[in-house]
Amino acid sequence: MSTVEIRNLHKSFGKLEVLKGIDFTVESGQVVCVIGPSGSGKSTLLRCVNLLEQPTSGTVVVDGIDLTDPDADIDAARRHIGMVFQQFNLFPHLTVRRNVTIAQERVLKRSKGECDHVARENLEKVGLIDKIAAYPPQLSGGQQQRVAIARALAMNPSLMLFDEPTSALDPELVGDVLSVMRKLAEDGMTMLVVTHEMGFAREVADRVVFMDGGVIVEDGPPEQVIADPQHERTREFLSRVLHPGV
């Protein structure tokens, strides 16, 4: 499957330094959850992994390919790195079927028949085969997000990036999306997940990374980072998320 190696990653937007030297790795088949307060740089970190943001310095190596190398074929690398966004970002002018087939056809140059077969397979996986002819605006948020997962999976990625995939959903729709992700983790997918769902992190993650102020404060198994945090900032953050309003 896949490995991610990030070394001394810095990212600035103009004068604002958002990532201040990030080091971490994701082993093949691991699920790593990234938690941290708003503005700590979680999304930016995730977006540096598939070069949606160009790192200011440092290296990002995925599957042995250094994506920060100016000669690297970023488009080719992205084919194997699926990404799921907080706002779903389905293509609203295309049917669910077309959403899931268009990149297979245009990027992977698969035959029509194969595209369709793969689309059906993945829509079945997320439980939405009956919505194959619908347009995204006709679906609920939870359904849209599951289609977005199917769209990413159709490319046969070796790594999946999730940026707060359930944050834009009504609470009753969160469960469906999380269970799809849980199944994916059980199937051995390498996953890097930015999330506020502590239950999911505790049960599914092999490691939890706590970020604050553009650095990784704590990195370890969930039973350590969530249940027995070593740093004051982690404790503070967790008490706020786990006991809101207290």
């Binding site: 488009d75 990149a103 990027v107």
Partner: protein, 279 residues
């Protein structure tokens, strides 16, 4: 009603003198109707209806223009308009992409083009195109008058459509491009398959309005010097009215324009309303 109560509410302490606001409003409206009625009656009395019918609604003369009014004039107007629109659409889209390019010289070229061609009257463009053979002896545009008309209408409408497309492309949420790129699509592929189709939907109303102005501007093709078979609506009406020394054909031509422009305007407003509701 609400205007009246508002008026009262803002001047609660002022003692009422004479008429109440509601009564004043009623009187004012009666006066307006009365003025309108007087104008209509005077005009109707002064007008020489027989002469007007003879000049503008002369069915004899109108009949002589048929079927050429539709089979030649309208047909040519539609050809000039659509070919100019098609050229403007393609060039406009390219200009919009250049305007949004990361390569600075592309942005400059596009900006200069847009400024120039939005700043010149179409009439002048046609004069320039007409004088091309003078400037370059032996030079001839392919397609003759049809090619020249498409070029003139196309280069100008491209400048306007470029601005429409640019606004449309920028109105497509950034996440669309990001999602497409994250699937491995190169920038241009993502533009063509994902962003531009959505942008075109967004700019459908202004594009329809663009088509209406182009239809009207196609009347300037007469500056190119057209033969009888190349004549479009405006010149056709003018020629016919000189031939028969009667202005009815000009009126008929005007009605023919409206036959197209009014439904198109209606379509544009419907599209606009639908988009407004979809947001």
């Amino acid at each position: 009603m609400s205007a009246v109560s508002e008026q009262q509410a803002t001047t609660p302490t002022e003692p009422r003198k004479g008429l109440s606001p509601r009564k004043k409003q009623r009187i004012s409206r009666s006066v307006q109707y009365a003025v309108l009625l007087v104008i209509v009656v005077v005009l109707a009395a002064l007008a020489d209806w027989g002469a007007i019918r003879e000049s503008f609604l002369n069915l004899d003369v109108a009949g002589k223009g048929l079927p050429e009014l539709f089979t030649v004039a309208l047909r040519n107007t539609v050809i000039y308009t659509l070919s100019g629109f098609a050229l403007g659409f393609v060039v406009g889209l390219v200009l919009a992409l250049m305007r949004l390019s990361t390569v600075a010289p592309y942005r400059w070229i596009s900006a200069i083009y847009i400024e120039i061609f939005r700043g010149l009257p179409i009439l002048l463009i046609f004069l320039m195109i007409g004088s091309l053979p003078l400037a370059f002896p032996g030079f001839e545009l392919p397609g003759g008058v049809y090619g020249s008309a498409a070029l003139g209408l196309g280069v100008v409408s491209a400048a306007y459509m470029a601005e429409n497309f640019r606004a449309g492309i920028q109105a497509v949420p950034k996440g669309q491009m990001e999602a497409a790129r994250s699937l491995g699509m190169p920038h241009m592929r993502a533009m063509v398959s994902i962003v531009i189709p959505q942008a075109i939907r967004i700019v459908l109303p202004p594009l329809t309005n663009q088509l209406v102005s182009l239809l009207k501007d196609s009347s300037l093709v007469l500056m190119l010097g057209v033969t009888a078979s190349q004549v479009e609506l405006a010149k056709f009406g003018n020629d016919q009215s000189s031939t028969f020394a009667n202005p009815t054909p000009i009126l008929a031509t005007g009605l023919t324009y409206l036959l197209i422009t009014i439904p198109l305007g209606y379509v544009a407003r419907r599209l606009e309303a639908r988009q407004g509701a979809g947001r």
